[in-house]
Each structure stands twice: as C-alpha cells, then as structure tokens.
Amino acid sequence: MEILTILKANIKHKKGAFKSVIILMFIITVAMTAIISTNDLTYKALKKAITEIDTGDMIACVDDSSDMETIYNGLSNNKNVASFRADDVLYTNHYIINGEEIENENSYFIAKWNSNYKVFQDNLHGFIEDPEPLKKGEAYVPICFQNLYNCEIGSKIIIKTNAGDREFHVKGFVQEPLYGCFFIGVKQFFLSDTDYDLLLKRKENTTDRKQLIGLGKIFQIFQADNSNLSMTEWKKSLNDSSGIMDNALLAESKETMIDYTTIFPKIGSGILYAFVILLFVIVLVIICHSISTGIEMDYTNLGILKATGFSNHKIREIYILQYMTAQLLGIILGMMSSYPVTILLGKLYLPITGILIGYGISFYKIFLLLLTMIIIICIFVVILTAKVGRISPVRAISGGAEQIYFDSRLKMQINKRMLSLTLAFRQFITNKKHYVGTLMISSILVFFMMSISLLANCMSSERFMESIGKIPSDLEAQLYFNKDDIMTELDKIEKEIGKIAGITDFNALSMEYISLDGVNIHCDFYSNPLIIEKTLIKGRIPKYKNEISITQIVADEYGLNIGDTVTLSKENEADYLITGLHQSSNDLGLCIAMSYDAYKRIGNKIPHSLYIKLADSSLAKKVTDFLNETYPDKVEAVLADPDNTQMKLIETIFIGISALIYIISIIFALITVSMVCMRSFLRERIDIGIYKALGFTVRQLRLQFSFRFLTVSAIGSTLGVILCIFLCPSLMKILLGGLGVTNFATDYTLGVIVVPVCVICFCFFLFAYLVSGKIKKVEVRELISE
C-alpha cells in the first residue's frame, strides 16, 4: 500500500517523464508490431498463394524446340523428383501495354486463364469470389501493371505477332505470386482459351526468322519427400538426369521466387528494424537520464523516505514499478494502434509484392520481443537505481547533496556581444553530464537520418542502377542478326550512329543460364566488357577470352576468389580464370559476367539487346528512326524509358521511409528536449529567477536555454556524422546484401550531411525555445526568503 501511495504521488508529480516513456514505448510498439506483422502476413499470404496455384519446388521454362522426351524421361526417372507437370505457355518479345511499347526477350508469358489465380476487387480490399471467365479480347493482368504501365480496367494491350497485331483489354487484376512482383522482369498474364489458341496458331504459322511469339512449357517440379538434397544439389541432380537446366529459358526455385517477391519489403523492414533498435537505445538513454537526474533532484525526499523506514529495495521497487507502468501503458496503446498501421503497410507493399495480405498481428512473436524489452529496461532501472543506496538520510535532510564545484578547461569567456550564447555554453559546460544523454540521442538520430538519406540517394540514383548491372541508355534495341554477321554489323552501326549523334556507350549483350560445376548460374555477356568496370569491386574486368568476373555472393557460395579457375559449360565446356569481383542484382546477385568473345567458347547464343548512350541525347529519336529504317528486319529500336518507372517507385518508397524516419526522429527530439528541458528548468529555477532579477528578459533567457540545446545537438550531430561515416557502409551491406549489392557506394553530398544535422539542431533549438516558455512563470519573488 505504501508503495502504491508513493507510486501514485511520483506519477502525479513527474508526469513529464512518465508521459515521455509512454510515448516512446508507444512508437516502438507500433513500429515493431506493424513491421513484424506485415512481414509475417506477406510471407504467409505469398506461401498460400503459391500453394494455391500448385507451384513446384523448381519452376523451369523450356522452349518447345528442346528435346522434351529426354526432359520428361529424365525427370520421371529421377528418384529425387516426387512429381512434375508441364503447362503450356506462350512467350512474347514485342508488345504495347497502355500505349507503352516494350521489346524484351522472352519477358512476358501468356497463359490460358486458370481459376486458381485470384482476381482483385476494384478497391483492392479483397478478391472477387467467382471471377468471370475471360471472353475473347479480354485479359487478366498482374496488379503491378497498375504502377508499371498505369493500367486500369479497360486499358489496351497489343501483342505483336508475325501475322499482325492482336488487341486485348484488361478485364481485371490478378494476384500473381510467381511473377507478379514489381521488380521481377518476367511477367505473366492470362487470356481466354480462344485467344490463346488463336495466338498459338499465329505462332505455328510463322516461318519468319524473327519470331515474335514462342511456345514453351513451364515445368513445375516437386522434390521427393525422402530427398535429402540441398537446393543446389537437387538442381544439379535434375540437370544431370534431364538436362532441363541447360535447356531452360528461365529456371528458379520456389524459394528464390519468394525471395525475389519479398526482397524490397525485407530491405524496408530491415531499415525500420534498425531504426526501432536505435529508438530502443534512445529510450534506455532517456530512462538513464531521467533516473539519474531524478535521484539527484529528489535527494531530500528520498532521504526522508529512508529516514521514515523505506529500505533501498523498496525505493528501487517504486522506480521499477513506475517505469514498468509507463512501459506497459505505451505497449498497450501501441498494440491497439498498430492494427491500422499494419493494414496501411500491407497496402504500401501491395504494388511491390503483388500480394494481398490479410489482417492480423503476430501476437506471440511481438509479445516475446516486448517482454524482452521490458526485462532489459527493468534490469537497466535496477542498475541505475543502485545509487539510491548511497543516499544518506542525515545529509539529505540537512541540505541535500554536497556542494558541487563547477570547473572545466573548456571555459569560454562571457562575452557582451554574444551574451546568451556564451552563457548557454557555460551552462552546458558546467552541467555536462546532464547533457550526455541528449548528446547521444542527437548523434543517434543524425546517424540514422543521414544513413537513410544516403540509402535513399543511392537507391534512386542512376549510379546505383548502374552498380547493380542496369545499363544507362538513351535508346535500346532488339537485334536479329546471324551469329556470323553480328560483330561486323555492330561495328557498322556504331560508326553510323557515331556520325549522327556521337556515342558515349555502345554495348550489345545477352544473358544465359550456364553451368558452373554442374549447377545453373546466370551469366551476362557483353560485346564490350568495359561496362563491367562500373560495377567492379575488386580485381580487373575480364578482358580476354578465358576470363570471367563473379559477384561476391557467387564467390562466397562457391568458395571462389580472384585467380581461381572454374569450368563452365553450355553447348561446350571450357575453363575460365576469375579476374574480378563485380556486383549485380541479377538473380539476387548469383551471377557471372564475361565478354561475348569469352562466351562464344561455350555457347551459341548471340547478343540480342543493344544499349546506346549518345553524346547528344536530344538526337535519340533521330537515331532510333534511323536504325528502324536502315535495318527493318534486323533491328527494332525504341527510346529508353525516360521516366524509369522502376527507379521512380524505388524513389517513392525511400522517400516514404525517409519521411517516416524524419518524423519519428523529430518526435523523439521533441520528447528528449521536453524531458531534459523540464529537468534543467526545475534544477535552474533559482538561477532563472536571479537572471530575471538582474534584468534579463524572458526572451533572452529562453534563447540562452535554446542555445544550450543547440550546442548539445551540434556536438551530438557531429558525432552522428562521424558515426555514420564509419558505420554506414557496414549497415548498408547488411541491408542491401540480399539485393546483390555488396559494395555500397556512399555519396556524402553536402545535402546528405547538412540536412539531418540542420533538422536535428533546428528541432532541438526550437523545441527548447518552446518548452522554455515556462520561464515566463518563474517569479523573481521566489528568491525572497521572508
């Protein structure tokens, strides 16, 4: 009962600290609950959707010209295969979606409508229960088309075939768990059986060399329950028995597809997780500051409590209960508010993952994490309140703590011209330890704000796209040359374009899955391997016929390094020397790169995509027309997407995350300043009275107060900048490693450094000025001792 009475009194008289802990725990709980729940729900919904469409453990798309009999027999006889099925699919190279013309090799699958896929309601809140089957001229498309091509219901899709264009209209949007993710290049959409058969006929009638529609089979292969092979071993086993990997246009495991789909939510969540951890550190700092100054200020009261029979243990119990009550209130309020935030996050994820997540909270996981946080805070409080034991009741009652002598080497002369500033600095210097917490908090906030700015700048920059293997260009073209002619023709084209607009970059390339030690791996080959230079982390580019470059992820996965020799095979087999490490986001970083000359030793494919960066970009249209007119059957050139939809979405996402982090940081700054200000204010009440009696105006005193926080935040921010310079590359490596980016190019522009520092310093200054409004209420008569 006595504890309860003191506890109630403490909460009543220290509302500020109590409220601050509630707000901080509230923010942490909301952020943590929303992130964990959204991630769990996304993963659960994705797994469910993948199961509903009966996806195999391995998905491989094979052209119908391949030796199907060998593949069928090989898979049937493989004891590690439980079952498999092959679904017919058409693939197309040239199409126009909602007015946007796209030419890309085998990037779009066209399938017959399968009712196992779910169709979104118009408001995207759920699925239509019994979607209508497609009629002639109608198409169901993945939800990501809304962002990629601004598609709406009724938007036009034109598929170019060798027998003329075929036009379809979007009837609805579907949840496509395999290829529906915004960032997966391959897409699949659905047509009615009639339309599909018509397209198939057009394909069959084609005799032209430049075939616009292809027929393939998508193999869904299920691993046997008793198979103990790892995914890599299983892939090798499948290839050994059937050659399916060597023949596949595309082959990925189900888990890789899940990884592709969840990669960006994972990065976003990673950032927010890191932020939540830092916020928790801030909460600990704030509690530390609150308890240590609280004990100092309550020295007399605590002495009286001890004199009246309260043991150290009981006083510490009161502290623990006080902070636990605040934490629990924050947690309960946070849990209640996290539900709508989870729904909001799910909606944000939808255009990226293409997956509609349900509603709910991962209660047990969050409960365990929050319990851990409570325990950590309680242990922290126990440690911090140890000094209660050192309070002497006699000394406390006879006038509190001992006189404190302030002295510092950093003493700055009090200056008439900068009176408020120099007095503020003196206050800071003589109460340094009271500002250590504030200093730490401002440095953590600046560190994180700066890191997120760096990440946002990096992710949305052209340089980043280059560094993960995207090729900047003014125009792109599909090539249909013979293997024998291609290099001569490319030389000719390069010279001709050079005369028209000048050339900065000219590169023809292609990709193929080739076998590295019997396992399929993504391989990019370039007519001009100098392009690899831009993504090179270590070593040198593979200039010669027997050289390749690998990613750090491949190096780690296969235990390879620069100087090692590997055997690669496709149609033929050859040994290659690893000359460098580069980075690429292709196949989540599991890929190798080489020159076209090097590739020719093992494969027959020819470069089919041409990327041209002009010296004079304004002539891109002229060059595009020139290519299409001069090489009507050999080259199909289009202008590069100037808006770069993918980059724009990444930019939008990171602006969103940055804004969220900035807002939370500002709230934390406000809470910190309020708490520290209030404590300083109570401690310095007499000094404020003295200054008022000497003729200082309220404004001058408030400015003095604010300058002190400006000084603290400026020092803290500087530490934050230093911290960021040292730690940011490692943090980013963790966050972006999953995307294949192992070498993070930090670009410390003035904006990246100045904006977070200014925001934090300004917030600390402003909030200190606002909170110090209480100075108005300090009466000089408080100095009167009647």
Binding site: D687, Y691, A693, L694, G695, V780
Partner: protein, 253 residues
Amino acid sequence: MKNTILSAKDLCKSFAHNGGQLHILSHIDLELFEGDFTVIMGASGSGKSTLLYALSGMDRATAGQVIYNNTDLVTMSEKKLATLRHTDFGFIFQQMHLVSNLTLFENIVVPGYLNKQKTAASIKDYGEELIEKMNLSSIKSHLPSQVSGGQQQRCAIARAVINQPKLLFADEPTGALNRKSSIDVLNLLTELNFSGQSILMVTHDIKAALRATRILYLEDGKIIGNLTLPPYKPDEEKSRETQINAWLGSMEW
C-alpha cells in the same frame, strides 16, 4: 527639499489563501527620496520583503501604483521592467543568489553586459574597480561555491551597482552573514550612500538600521512609523542605537 525618486500610492498586495484573500500590504502611501538610505523594519510576516519587491517591480502589486520616473511599475510590461532592472535599479538578496557557474567577476559584469549604452570594455573596467573596492581582487576568478558568505555578499553588492543604479534595493543583506561580514557589508552600503547612492533596505537587525537616514516601520501591511535620522557617523553609533531602540519600542517592536 529632497527629490522624490520613487513613490507608492494606495499600494495593496494580497494572496489567495484557503479560498479567501490574505492581505499582506494594505493601502500603503509612501515616497522615497534621492540620496536617502531608507530602511524598512517590522516584525516577521509584517510584509517588509513583499513591500520591497512590490516597490522594485520584482513583484506586481494587487492594487495601487508605484511611480518611478512618472511611470507606474504596476502596469509596466515585463520587458520594460527587465530593462529597468539593469539600468536604474540594483538588488541585493539575503541569500546572495549569485549564479553558481559564473566566477565572482563574471557575476558582477554580466548585468553590465545587458546595458546597451555601455561598452564591454567600460563595464570590465568598472567591474575591476568594484572588485578592488569590495576587496575581492585575489578571488575574482573563484566560483561562488569556493568563497565565504561575506565574500559572496560583497560580490552581490558589486553586481547590484555595476550599472550605477539610481536606486539600490537590499533585502536583509546581512541576514545570512556572521558579525564581521555583516559589518563589512554595511560599511560598503554606507559608503555607497555617502557617495550619493539611494538605498532601500529591509532588515530586522538594529545594527543594520543604524546606517539609515530614514526608517519606516511596517505592521500588518501598513506603515505605522517614520523616523528621520542624520547621516550615519561611527562615533555616534551608541546614541543612535538608543534613539532607534526607543523609537522601535514606541512601535511595540
């Protein structure tokens, strides 16, 4: 005929207390004259300090007027009052109230820095002069917590006069000091008064009241006695004390 430096008309001060009003000062009329060393005396709780703070504008009266330079301090804005505190008025508190993290010298010059009409150099020079006068030169770089109470109060006096105020207010300046330090402080105040400084001091110490040229006696928030004295002379201290004691006796002190 002396010039009035500050006057109060029908001055009242009351506080809310137990649902009612507690009247501390009740309809006080008073004039303070230039060059006077006026002392307010009275029993504990008679409202001496409240009157001092109401007259100095440190605290606002509930009713009435405090006229200084033809301006009413009761209705004056907080900003103008702040200016007045560092231009025309000076204060000495019983508990010294020096700023704990400023050295003695800094404590003295800081209010001077607020005065826009004076340069930093002239304030520093005058600060040095005062520190010399207060016999604090050897400890001028010390912090308040490192010096004695008497030294602190001498520093507080120097701080109060750094802007050469027209009127110096002192609230029991010797109340927290030992005998020797009290005499030092009183000597300084007397010296200042002799040089023309107008002083209004609250005290309940007869030794301090001896220095006055005028004593006002306060009882239950009203001035009930007014004694005018010639300037203080050390050799007349005994007879002066007898005179004041007799007068205070008549006030039933």
